[in-house]
Symmetry: C2
Subunit: 215 residues, 2 copies
DNA sequence: GGCCTTCCTGACCGTATGGTCAAATTCAGA
DNA sequence: TCTGAATTTGACCATACGGTCAGGAAGGCC
């Protein structure tokens, strides 16, 4: 998706619609923010990646911080989408298993976004603190209820739902955030399809058995 | 440890020994790099935190990059120390259990360092790539051998050791790197002793049962 | 005390950065 | 074709940053 929009820069017409210009810039910004962090990223570099003059960026996004904020919000939306899978499931094996699959897919397809999010939270969430306190808190509490119900129904062991969620987030996002380290330990090459499948399988095996959702 | 050195800034004498001055600066730098990232950190801010004039920093650490490199190396040493526990263990339950404890303790006591490391790796490890390729690769391969032996001896299920290690790293470091998110979801307060214990217990329960090292 | 090494620091410099602006360009609709 | 709103852009600005340097201060040692 990120490549899709970025791969079609200023083709025929010289004037862009607001929508596609913003998408192009957001895509470039996501990449640069992921690689350099907020402080290390420069508007000039983002402009170069987007193939636009710097002044044009400021036309669509008045300040660097505003641009950054939109990038983070974009990720958060994707992040939340994986939530649906959780609710629609019948039990822990299906629900948590599918959630792991979904989050691993996000780690693979939206690695840059994941890094931006991680960076933001690591630095104390200066721009999305309100999201953490509202949306994320609500989402978390909702999922805790679901897990507690599963436990009450005897469908999994009495694990603290909160720490289980942290483990799910940590493990899946690790493949995006620490992708470079994993690639290095993989001989310098990114994981191939088979290895991604192996990763998902291993995680699901350990966690689902670990919480007593499977034998 | 970080606080110990930082808590005794220029008391009586005006002149510091190289060793204590460097320790003071490294401690301040770790904090600032963790909060702002490499690009976002400024020598001026580090100097302010250390309580020294900026020019004094450049006396001990000629460039920002050199200072940063030393901070990262310092963390890496601590990181590797937790390895010993792994080897001295008799089996997976003891070895991995103790490793989780040790890494959780590091996450709690050296949260800033962990964040600096995470930031560095996330941005492609520009300054410690050689460490990843040599020391970390060797360490990882050594641990994989140990785990494979345990599997061969039937003391745990046939899990891919590599992905198990990633899960251990991810889960334990999450409590440092995403500490702010966890604190927010905890009502805005840091985890207390009891909660840290609960976290450790939950992680050990899930993983040790998940890999078939306990019933 | 005299000397020399080490340490300290205010003032300074070149550069790069985020952001501004006014003039030019494009294009849809009347 | 004309008009006006939307878009594009090079040139420009003030600031903040990493780093330098020369001169001063401390303190160990004879």
């Amino acid at each position: 998706m990120a490549e899709t929009t970025a791969a079609s820069p200023k083709a025929t017409s010289k004037k862009m619609r607001r929508q596609e210009a913003e998408a192009l810039i957001l895509s470039a910004a996501e990449k640069v923010f992921a690689e350099a962090g907020f402080g290390g990223a420069t508007m000039q570099l983002i402009a170069d990646v987007a193939g636009l003059p710097k002044a044009n960026l400021h036309y669509y996004f008045p300040t660097k911080e505003l641009l950054y904020r939109q990038v983070v919000q974009k990720i958060f939306q994707i992040w939340l989408q994986a939530a649906d899978i959780f609710d629609q499931a019948d039990g822990p094996e299906e629900g948590i298993g599918a959630y792991i699959d979904a989050k691993m897919e996000i780690s693979r397809r939206h690695a840059d976004g994941s890094k931006v999010w991680a960076s933001e939270v690591m630095h104390g969430a200066p721009v999305i603190q309100d999201y953490l306190e509202t949306t994320l808190t609500d989402w978390t509490n909702g999922r805790i209820e679901v897990i507690e119900r599963w436990i009450a129904e005897g469908r999994m062991a009495p694990i603290d739902p909160r720490h289980l969620l942290y483990m799910l987030w940590a493990t899946t996002q690790h493949y995006a955030d620490f992708g470079h380290q994993i690639d290095t330990l993989n001989g310098g090459s990114p994981l191939n399809d088979k290895q991604w499948e192996a990763a998902k399988t291993n995680i699901k095996t350990i966690i689902l058995r670990g919480i007593g959702a499977v034998e």
